[in-house]
Symmetry: C2
Amino acid sequence: MNAPISTPTSAPALTKNQSLVFDVLDRADAPMSAYTILDRLRDHGFRAPLQVYRALDKLLEFGMVHRLESLNAFVACAHPESECCGKGHGHGHGTVAFAICESCGHVSEFHDHEVDHRLGDWAKAKNFKPAKTTIEIRGLCGACAA
Amino acid sequence: MNAPISTPTSAPALTKNQSLVFDVLDRADAPMSAYTILDRLRDHGFRAPLQVYRALDKLLEFGMVHRLESLNAFVACAHPESECCGKGHGHGHGTVAFAICESCGHVSEFHDHEVDHRLGDWAKAKNFKPAKTTIEIRGLCGACAA
DNA sequence: TGACACACGTTATAGCATAACGCAATTGAT
DNA sequence: ATCAATTGCGTTATGCTATAACGTGTGTCA
């Protein structure tokens, strides 16, 4: 009883652990570390970090979750449910950027074609082959800066 | 005998530990973790991570060193010696971006006004006050992609 | 049915970062 | 001159983040 659980939705079917981890992130209003997720899921039988990390790896691969490098933490993708930011599927919309409020922890996910384009141009000029691009702005959100 | 050592150069005078850490980074041809730096400096009397982290904190503050968030590692700033990427001094040139080769480890530092501008516009529109922006492209450099 | 792929669980360990203590030296105002 | 404030330093201990290595169960498919 270890295989992915089929769901009526689109998107890759998630296993039990993957669903649990995703749900926790999806309900959160701020990024969560793997260990915080682990603690939230102790009641569901989670005992070890690897259970979380393995689920996160898959969710990242599916494009359903993002990793915030400057925080060592994770957020659910903010895009409309079905079509998310993946690149492998052919329908991705390029690199995603994040604005992270250092006061309230809120994260805004956005995307800018022009930025993508400029970075892509630089890479092309330098013959650099990008695999993954990280853009994170840390600061104060409108509400907190007031 | 603990105070900064005066030097003939411009830029803030560095203490002994700060100089040692900076020299290690400056000579390296790839990013280094704090613990790798520590190991390189055992012969100079370094015994504990904090000795490295404290020096790094200052060097980051001076803008002489950058932290690569996606690597948990550090590099010496690639700009011409004197005027570096700081923001506090008034002569900074905005956000710096990094292209990191996942094969050879080489890091290229660059910056792009247009990208800065676009991200700044987004922030302005959202009333977000940026404190620090991270841009890191991971992939393969020209030499390694060949 | 047997090889394979994949998710899972567990234990142990590696790697990155900081807290909290106390001492030494410098600065600078009084 | 001296005292308070600041800054750098060294040490020990601890916490947080991430992965290695092992073995199990299950579903797929030739």
